[in-house]
């Protein structure tokens, strides 16, 4: 199932999907998800999409649970997810270092021409999880999924 706001990656690749369990006795399916940002307005759509998909697959009584711990971070995005983001023109986030380690700010590569000569236009973008960047080499603006 694709993410309703970033329609090139699945909720599994984004790390939003935590678990899918089927009760062996009743056959009831429980799906556990976690939000990227606390206020992410796509969560209601994601819940509805999951219920619709499971109903279509023969599970009309599926339950969707939302958990907040452990908190989502961009490290939950899979390698396949990162590659798909980059292919869609969204620069994927750098890996967040372990707690207690100071992260170095590495250059964000332009997903269109690959140049590291980029600059941040605004740290807040079209969705809660993205920042707006611009490439100084090819002059194109692009989205960057910011490290969290």
């Amino acid at each position: 199932m694709v993410d309703p706001e970033i329609r090139v990656v699945t909720i599994d690749e984004l790390g939003i999907l935590r678990a899918v369990e089927e009760d062996p006795a009743s056959g009831r399916v429980t799906v556990t998800i976690t939000p990227t940002y606390t206020g992410c307005p796509a969560m209601d759509v994601i819940r509805a999409d999951i219920r619709r998909a499971l109903a279509a697959a023969g599970h009309p009584d599926a339950e969707v649970e939302t958990v907040y711990s452990p908190p989502w971070s961009t490290d939950w995005i899979s390698e396949a997810g990162r590659a798909k983001l980059a292919a869609a023109g969204i620069a994927p986030p750098a890996r967040v270092s372990a707690p207690g380690v100071v992260a170095l700010t590495l250059a964000v590569r332009c997903p269109l021409c690959g140049s590291p000569e980029t600059e941040q236009v605004s740290r807040f973008g079209s969705t809660a999880c993205k920042a707006l960047w611009r490439c100084r080499s090819c002059s194109e603006p692009f989205d960057h999924l910011k490290a969290l």
Binding site: P35, Y37, T38, G39, C40, P41, Y68, S69, P70, P71, W72, S73, V121, S122, R123, F124, G125, S126, A128, L132, K146, L148
Partner: protein
């Protein structure tokens, strides 16, 4: 002193009222990127408010959910600090409010991660990373305006002076709370001191310290904000998108 319900409600109302005030900037910010930034920060605050309000409702055990707490309380029942209900003022005043709130929320949410309450710990772990972005954003604007032109410096200093007295209420001691707000003051002072110095702004003298928000005694501004925020739900009980 306050129990876990009042403490959680205070944090929830801080986030909810801050979100409502910030949302007033939508389509009115000085530039498009800032418009998007303020709306995003408002959305983060609203997200934290929803989690905290839901949990407060469970702690109370009276059957009130997040909507009942947000839309069906009058001003005397709100527990937010006065800082967040103050009018937006000019852009500098909004940035001063945003910066001081974030400089308090970052150490607050960080401390919640290690508190004994598992639900508050999970909310803190989630919200602190978002608040770090808010703090960064506010600090950048304080530096840009404070260390900018003569006019921007004058207005940023005036905004800091105007808002400063309202920061003291955030740190009123409550030793029984999951996190005693008084313990957050050193981290706040350190952040504020460093940013104000870099922004070439003076740190105001501490004197007048208005309060009352945590016990439901608010400024005249809150009731107007609530009237706008609650009108739809009160006119159409149970209305949903």
């Amino acid at each position: 002193m306050n129990g876990p319900f009042d403490f959680t409600l205070g944090l929830a109302d801080d986030a909810l009222i801050a979100a409502q005030r910030l949302a007033e900037w939508t389509t009115r910010a000085p530039e498009m990127e800032e418009d998007i930034a303020l709306a995003n920060i408002a959305l983060d605050q609203l997200g934290a408010a929803r989690l905290l309000l839901s949990y407060a409702g469970e702690l109370e055990g009276a059957g009130r959910d997040e909507d009942a707490l947000a839309y069906l309380r009058d001003d005397r029942e709100f527990r937010n600090a006065l800082l967040v209900e103050l009018p937006n003022g000019d852009f500098a005043v909004t940035m001063a409010k945003l910066f001081f709130l974030a400089a308090y929320q970052v150490p607050l949410y960080t401390a919640l991660v290690d508190c004994a309450d598992e639900r508050l710990a999970a909310i803190g772990a989630k919200a602190r990373k978002e608040s770090a972005y808010h703090l960064d954003h506010g600090a950048l604007w304080l530096k840009r305006l404070g260390d900018g032109t003569e006019e921007s410096h004058r207005r940023m200093q005036a905004a800091v002076d105007q808002v400063w007295p309202y920061t003291h209420e955030l740190f009123i001691a409550d030793p029984a709370a999951p996190v005693d707000p008084a313990t957050l003051r050193p981290a706040f002072d350190q952040t504020v001191g460093a940013v104000l110095a870099e922004a070439t702004l003076n740190r105001p003298e501490s004197g007048w310290a208005p309060g009352g928000g945590r016990t439901g005694v608010h400024t005249e501004h809150l009731a107007y904000l609530l009237a706008e925020m609650q009108v739809l739900h009160r006119a159409h009980p149970g209305a949903q998108w």
